[in-house]
Symmetry: C2
């Protein structure tokens, strides 16, 4: 079988990407040869070298397929949505992250590869720097959200928005990591929801109604 039509070529490209995700997940990125990916995809190395320049290129293509739509929806939509209060937006954001990771197995598989099945050295170190960068931006958005909550009188007094944002960033980071690890405790939707509620409740005003002004 050779030169099929254009859509068929696109399909083998997708097959290669899916096979890469599977084999990377089983054997690690550095430990898989292009031959193994080709076999899993039902093609030869020639097909891979046609669609991608090398393993790193294939790997990056696999990542971008999921990481781009993930974060875009998340912090842009949820942290700026004007139809709910700041702390409600925060809660919705946390819930959406966990349910998305829980339901989208393809995304989870890729994130597991990024977390446990690849080595950030050489060229890949830049990806870590990018990750730090995005975390900083995320932290900024969280801080602005908490600042808005404070202006709305929603934030617990004595809690600095910056510290609250830091702790939420830590919360999200740890929650995702434990979930990807496969910890049973963070896979029970009920407990996760309770944690998120506790996290949000611990930064809103104790029992009082929020004040209306400064």
């Amino acid at each position: 079988m050779v030169r099929r039509t254009k859509e068929e070529a696109e399909q083998t490209r997708r097959q290669i990407l899916a096979a890469a995700r599977q084999v990377f997940h089983e054997r690690g990125v550095g430990n898989t040869s292009l031959e193994q990916i080709a076999q899993a995809a039902g093609v030869t190395r020639g097909a891979i070298y046609w669609h991608f320049v090398n393993k790193e290129d294939l790997f990056k293509a696999m990542c971008q397929k999921v990481t781009i739509p993930f974060l875009d929806r998340m912090d842009y939509t949820l942290l700026v949505d004007p139809s709910s209060t700041p702390l409600e937006r925060l809660r919705n954001f946390l819930l959406q992250i966990t349910t998305t990771v829980q339901q989208d197995e393809c995304l989870r598989c890729t994130m597991e590869i990024l977390n446990f099945k690849c080595e950030y050295v050489g060229e890949m170190e830049k990806d870590l720097a990018d990750y730090i960068e995005r975390n900083e931006e995320f932290l900024d958005k969280l801080e602005r959200t908490y600042a808005a909550a404070r202006r709305a009188g929603q934030l617990r007094p004595g809690l600095a928005p910056r510290i609250a944002a830091l702790e939420t960033l830590v919360f999200v980071t740890g929650l995702l990591r434990l979930r990807l690890l496969g910890m049973p405790a963070v896979q029970r939707a009920h407990d996760v929801r309770a944690m998120i509620d506790a996290h949000v409740r611990s930064r809103q005003c104790p029992q009082r109604e929020p004040a209306t002004t400064t």
Copy 2:
């Protein structure tokens, strides 16, 4: 230079371990050859194969050198120390973790390798399972600590010890990960201390003095 005395042999073993840590950190575990480690240690591959059976054995030896004394001091000493209240023990525990990781560069280097420079596949997957196991035990100890805090009237009412413990596990996990990532925000001792204080304060009784009995 050949067969030096026994202590000299032990020294080359340590040299090999140190070189492995350095080169693993620079080039990743899967991407470094024993030849490169040997060069960095000033020996040949023969020396490495004398002291270790293969790269995996060398890697595990490098890990055990730091991971063993780390956790032992941590959850055993700090969560059972009877000279302070449960929430004080928790706070001390969190402070000690962060300062230890901050100061012990050798430990941090190894943890960075474990977090970003190796692939958990094949034999190494068992290490992930072990890590989950230790996290479960850690979670249990946290829960018992919170249960003790509740019995002491220290715990904020309405907060289940299990949920509080889960959130603290998430907190520690995320904090360590962001620190190892190199996020500047979690390297400022002042902010980290403020976060830890906020975390602990958010689970103790609002403003009241703790009750003295059940």
